[in-house]
């Protein structure tokens, strides 16, 4: 192997890193290490001037290895690998040390943070010296696409792909297409009917020659890899296998069950209903109480299960504007009814939505704020004989007064939450879940519909609560990604796979059963194990199971990892750890 000539670049990330880590000290500490030719720090390494700095140094100093110490490699590893490619180097001769998420964002003490950052950079330097160039490979793309979920997202993506002349298999678990949108009477802020949006799509998809709709169907197993997946689908008793090149997961969300919140009395008090039950009432054309009477007062409670650490910490994004839409629909149907919005924070973001809020507030709707972090409003039967069958007691936050609101109907704006089968779907398709059980995208900003499994895309509210416009945008984005790969005909696959050294493999077969991708088989003739490098995802399980050292996980070899550990546990690190212990 050529003598390593390493360039090290420490990023300030503006003040994100530099406020906690002494970047000058880190740079100085690593600049004298063996093989380090140049060490610099710069305000934003990912910026064009930052990237140019590396490019120029590679050329001027004949660098053959690069370490960037900045944010998570999940965000910018690809950015910097491209710099190496532009400079004529193999992109795998690069290593990133994460001193933002793993250091500056989690430490306060500048000395400890600087010591830890230095150790991580040292580890990266020691590791990169052992990196080997790896060559990209390509596989052909099967032109069919599997779309899971027949809601507006799945349908939109299906039509986009099918209209371009490519086969789509649209798998729907329930017995009908249309998903959540077909349950909505009208949509905000333009008050377009849900049906008006979804029905034309359904009518177009069902007879489409390039769309095969599978109702009451579920995925049982997905095998294969980008461009060449095989899915086993069950419809009732029947099971069929089909091939596809890409998969779009658009399984949506489900409404939160408000009976978990005792304060609201859902399920106990007949006048308390969910937002989706109210949609159904609107679709049926009449706003009535359980007894069939026209309600005099209607209260709408926001953030039911959302933005509440006991239920879901996140904002469900569509409820505020839906609640405003309800107020408009109620006002149109019942001109004299009292309408009360009990909100925690009015979040009417999005195009036309703030204007919608302004218009609604001029229609005799009373807005009252409650403390979502304090005591929730309490709904109880009204036994006083006065106005309203129900009474809601709450402390109005702006006035600070304890008040009671009469209501005949209470609408709970329930949160949007991950489906109960999200984990299973994620497991089948190789997607990761976030803490709230929503699917995780490959990059939150730069790659929002891809996942860490090549060829598997996510769109719509299965990724997180979303309105129709955002879901449709994602559907079209995912379709564009799929069409691009079909058009390309082949796709680059990961090269950090496992490889068997048949001069060392003893044929013990320990590796075969541990492979989660069924990528290893035993060659009876040669008496050695062999890895199918396209099925292999480079997880490394076989490498750690192999007792002979015959299996190398490319880019994660023992030499690379052990040198990284050595770098990490060098005296600077130990000093930082001691300092941390003393605290």
């Amino acid at each position: 192997m050529e003598e390593p000539r390493i360039g090290v670049y420490v990023c300030w990330c503006g003040t994100n890193i530099s406020k906690t880590v002494d970047v000058e000290q880190v740079t100085a500490a690593v600049s004298k290490l063996p093989h380090v030719i140049i060490a610099r720090n710069y305000k934003y390494m990912c910026s064009d001037p930052g990237q140019d700095l590396i490019l120029k140094d590679i050329r001027e100093h004949q660098l053959n290895r690069v370490v960037v110490s900045a944010c998570s490699p999940r965000i910018h590893e690809l950015t910097f690998r491209k710099v190496l490619v532009n400079a004529g180097l193999n992109p795998y001769l690069f290593e990133m040390a994460n001193i933002r998420e793993q250091v500056s964002w989690v430490h306060d003490d500048r000395d400890i943070a600087t010591g830890k950052a230095t150790s991580l950079v040292k580890a990266a330097i020691q590791r990169v010296a052992h990196h080997e160039p790896l060559e990209k490979r390509r596989v052909d793309i099967h032109p069919a696409t599997l779309i899971i979920g027949g809601g507006i997202t799945g349908l939109t993506a299906a039509m986009e792909i099918a209209d371009s002349g490519n086969q789509v298999h649209l798998i729907e678990k329930s017995g009908r297409l249309g998903g959540m949108v077909s349950l909505l009477h009208q949509t905000h802020p333009h008050l377009t009917a849900g049906n008006e949006l979804i029905q034309p799509l359904i009518d177009k998809a069902q007879p489409h020659p390039k769309v095969r709709v599978w109702l009451n169907s579920q995925i049982e197993e997905v095998t294969g890899y980008v461009g060449n997946f095989r899915a086993r689908i069950r419809s009732g008793e029947e099971v069929e296998e089909l091939d596809c090149g890409n998969i779009i997961v658009a399984t949506g969300t489900k409404p939160f069950d408000p009976s978990q919140i005792p304060e609201y009395g859902y399920g106990m008090l007949p006048g308390v209903i969910t937002s989706l039950e109210f949609e159904e009432m609107l679709r049926k054309g009449k706003i009535v109480t359980k007894d069939g009477e026209s309600p005099c007062d209607i209260a709408i409670i926001h953030c039911v299960g959302s933005r509440n650490m006991e239920y879901h910490p996140y904002c469900s994004r569509v409820c505020c504007t839906t609640a405003l839409k309800f107020a408009n629909q109620i006002r149109a149907a019942l001109p004299d009814a009292g309408i009360y919005q009990l909100y925690a924070d009015m979040r009417s973001f999005g195009k036309g939505c703030e204007e919608f809020y302004m218009r609604t507030s001029r229609r005799g709707v009373i807005f009252m704020m409650f403390d979502q972090k304090g005591k929730l409003p309490v709904v109880k039967p009204n036994n006083t004989g006065g106005r309203g069958r129900l009474l809601i007691s709450t402390r109005e936050l702006l006035s600070g007064e304890e008040i009671e609101i009469p209501a005949d109907l209470v609408i709970l704006m329930v949160a949007s939450e991950a489906r109960e089968d999200a984990r299973e779907t994620a497991h089948l398709t190789g997607i990761s879940l976030c803490g709230n059980q929503f699917f995780i995208e490959k990059h939150p900003k730069l790659d929002p519909v891809a996942t860490t499994t090549d060829g598997v895309f996510i769109a719509g509210s299965c990724q997180g609560p979303k309105d129709i416009a955002d879901s449709v945008s994602q559907a079209r984005a995912a379709a564009a990604r799929v069409l691009a790969s079909i058009l390309c005909g082949s796709v680059e696959v990961e090269v950090t796979t496992a490889v068997v050294n048949d001069k060392v493999c003893c044929g013990c077969q320990t590796c075969i059963s541990v492979c989660p991708y069924h990528a290893i088989h035993f060659d009876e003739e040669k008496r050695v194990s062999e890895v199918n490098e396209i099925l292999c995802k480079g997880c490394g399980t076989c490498g750690s199971a192999c007792p002979t050292g015959a299996i190398h996980a490319r880019h994660f070899t023992d030499d690379q990892i052990l040198s990284q550990i050595e770098g990490l546990l060098s005296p600077i690190t130990l000093k930082a750890m001691e300092m941390a212990m003393e605290d």
Binding site: N501, K503, V504, C505, C506, G507, C508, Q509, T510, I512, S513, V514, F522, R527, T541, S544, A545, C546, P547, T548, G549, A550, H552, D558, L562
Partner: protein
């Protein structure tokens, strides 16, 4: 008359030394039996304490590089071992770490799970057979009326040979197979091309399973570990597939898988194949994937059935492994 250069080739000067070892390696040299005559035809044994009465001072008097090949067996346990390793290195052209102890630390290396203080306490104070009412322990220097007595310093840690001197070749085994020794010796004596320095000789790159004829499948699932006496070996199936720990997959071939042929699982004396830094860790990692359970409690119950895991997985290799020794 032209001199016959072949006949006039000077004989090799060979030394065999025994450091912290059981003596088995020296006996394995004797195991060449009548072939010893072939050896002595090609080589003069200039130093071999087990067989020849040659003193250290005689070795000290030799010129540098006088010895062609030293077969050094045994680990470095005390200052005498270390001194002799350094002395023989200076006097030898080729230094061979002969046998498991010189190669990886071997059985004496298991003492690295303890330390000098604990070993002395056990041996000189607490062992059931010790009678030591004065509490005497060996000291390197002791004053007596006649002067000072010196004995070697007992180190805190056992080291393989290459941690104290530069080693040219490793000939593994506990002890090395005599056939392998003869092959290597003949290669050196006849001037055949030798493998690159620092390499393991007299052993294969592939591990035991490659030669082992027991039936193997990919069904290596273990629900229960058995010690060899606890189960009736069917004589045909891979030991691991019967729940018996066998170090074969992580151990170089070359011994002719003699233990396994004798229906005993491999203990790992031939050491790890190339590219394996830590055979104990490698084997534990492999065994970890074979345990047939996903329930943490059941997994620990199964793991607890492994008698003496440290001594099993690191039986011959502790001082050369990554963990190397107990820290405190």
């Amino acid at each position: 008359m032209e001199p016959n250069t072949k006949n006039h080739k000077p004989k090799l000067k060979l030394a065999v030394y025994w450091a912290a070892a059981c003596g088995g390696c020296c006996v394995s040299v004797l195991d060449v039996h009548e072939k010893l005559y072939q050896v002595t035809e090609l080589a003069d044994l200039v130093f071999w304490p087990i067989a020849l009465d040659i003193k250290y001072k005689d070795v000290e008097a030799l010129p540098h590089g006088f010895i062609d090949v030293t077969l050094f067996n045994g680990a470095i346990r005390n200052s005498e071992n270390q001194y002799m390793a350094m002395l023989l290195r200076e006097k030898s052209k080729i230094m061979v770490a002969y046998g498991s102890c010189a190669h990886l630390g071997g059985i004496p290396g298991l003492a690295n799970f303890s330390n000098r203080e604990a070993i002395f306490d056990r041996v000189y104070h607490t062992s059931e057979s010790t009678v030591n009412s004065t509490g005497t322990i060996p000291l390197p220097n002791v004053e007596v009326p006649e002067g000072t007595l010196h004995i070697p310093v007992f180190f805190d840690e056992v080291k393989p040979l290459d941690k104290v001197v530069c080693v040219d070749y490793y000939l593994p085994g506990c002890p090395p197979q005599t056939e392998r020794l003869l092959e290597v010796f003949t290669a050196i004596a006849t001037g055949a091309e030798l493998p690159s320095k620092k390499s393991v000789i007299g052993a294969w790159d592939k591990t035991q399973c490659d030669e082992c004829e027991r039936k193997k499948s990919d069904k290596k699932t273990i629900k229960r570990f058995f010690r060899p006496f606890e189960v009736e070996d069917d004589g045909e199936t891979c030991f691991l597939e019967q729940g018996i720990l066998c170090m074969g997959p992580a151990t170089r071939g070359g011994c002719g898988y003699r233990c396994i042929k004798g229906n005993a699982p491999c203990r790992g004396c031939y050491g790890p194949p190339p590219d394996v830094h830590d055979p104990g860790a490698k084997m534990m990692s492999a065994i970890g994937t074979m345990i047939d359970s996903n329930a943490p409690e059941e997994i620990s119950e199964i793991v607890d059935q492994i008698a003496d895991p440290a001594g099993t997985f690191y039986r011959f290799s502790l001082p050369a492994s990554i963990i190397r020794r107990r820290i405190s």
